[in-house]
Symmetry: C2
Subunit: 199 residues, 2 copies
């Protein structure tokens, strides 16, 4: 592991960078400290990432993949689509609260996504999962707007929860708020569907 040619440095850098962002926050994160912790000269990372921004983008993309994996795992065992939606929503919340810096990486890094299509693609994975679940909940039909509303609500609770502006940031209370929100949303969407049907 202390070879000159490390062989593994890129992966190690990403792993350590996650820890570091978790510890210092995204604004406190520096390349030089990363190199230090990875036990490597401050220049070595440049072999693997062309700039700091580039590394942060890779981190964000990785974070989105992790989110998607967590959502899939949570949804896997649940047959009823509404329950599945709830489970996914709670997972979203927990994922964020468990490591807020990772969440900030995804949603509050100063990156332009259009410069980093991998981030956009990784985001889309999770969106598709949500859209699919919504489709099942509603028995088909348009899922664009309703999906956006649901995502926004979960996201909003999560953001405000992380910032401790909601229920003092307590996980259990926020989770039950998520449950309540999903229930209200599904009820409300059912009303819209009914109205459209009877029109």
């Amino acid at each position: 592991m202390d070879r000159y040619h490390h062989g593994n440095l890129k992966a190690v850098l990403l792993k350590v960078a996650f820890q570091l962002v978790g510890k210092l926050g995204i604004e406190g994160f520096t390349l030089r400290e990363l190199a230090r912790r990875a036990g490597v000269s401050h220049n070595a990372p440049y072999r693997h990432f062309k700039s700091k921004e580039d590394l942060v983008a890779a981190l964000a993309a990785e974070a989105f993949h992790q989110l998607h994996a967590a959502l899939e795992k949570a949804a896997a065992g649940v047959a009823d689509p509404k329950e599945r939606l709830c489970a996914a929503a709670r997972t979203y919340l927990h994922f964020a609260l468990q490591n807020p810096s990772r969440f900030n990486l995804m949603f509050h890094s100063p990156l332009q996504w259009k410069n980093y299509p991998k981030c956009a693609a990784a985001y889309a994975e999770s969106w598709n999962l949500l859209a699919e679940t919504m489709r099942e909940c509603q028995g088909g039909g348009d899922v664009e707007t309703s999906g956006e509303v649901v995502w926004s609500t979960i996201h909003g609770i999560t953001e405000l929860g992380i910032a401790r502006h909601l229920r003092e940031g307590k996980v259990a209370e926020l989770a039950s708020l998520v449950d309540a929100a999903v229930r209200v949303l599904l009820d409300g969407l059912a009303v819209s569907t009914r109205q459209q049907a009877s029109r």
Copy 2:
């Protein structure tokens, strides 16, 4: 204005700081650049704020007051509470999109609110306005949870909109998403109320 004793510096600093945060974002904002733009030595701000953080906190509190004022103004002329809620929600969105850095100041500055009770108090102003409107929408009853859900939804749309993760960040489209969301939420909440009544 170019007197040695400025007489007005504190107010000028806050005003220029707003512009500067708008231009550079909260992470690009520096005391020294602020002083430069205010036409004053880099040390003068220390007469009025004991540290950079202190100034940022004052900025955040001011931003919350502005939000509250905007919400009150929007709500003022609208008699129907549901319409009033919609108007306030759209105002929240516009307020944020019009100057995202100001919004970041409020919700993504690294401040601990407990150290700055003025921020918390200024936040509460807007919350109370929302709670009151919700109370009218629901005809009384518990407004805690439903208010939190509504706030979170609006907030989530706003966050994702600013980040351009929703409808490419287009104002008009986001506004109509806000409308749709409020409608769904009110429908859903009505269902809950009905169920409780018939229990």
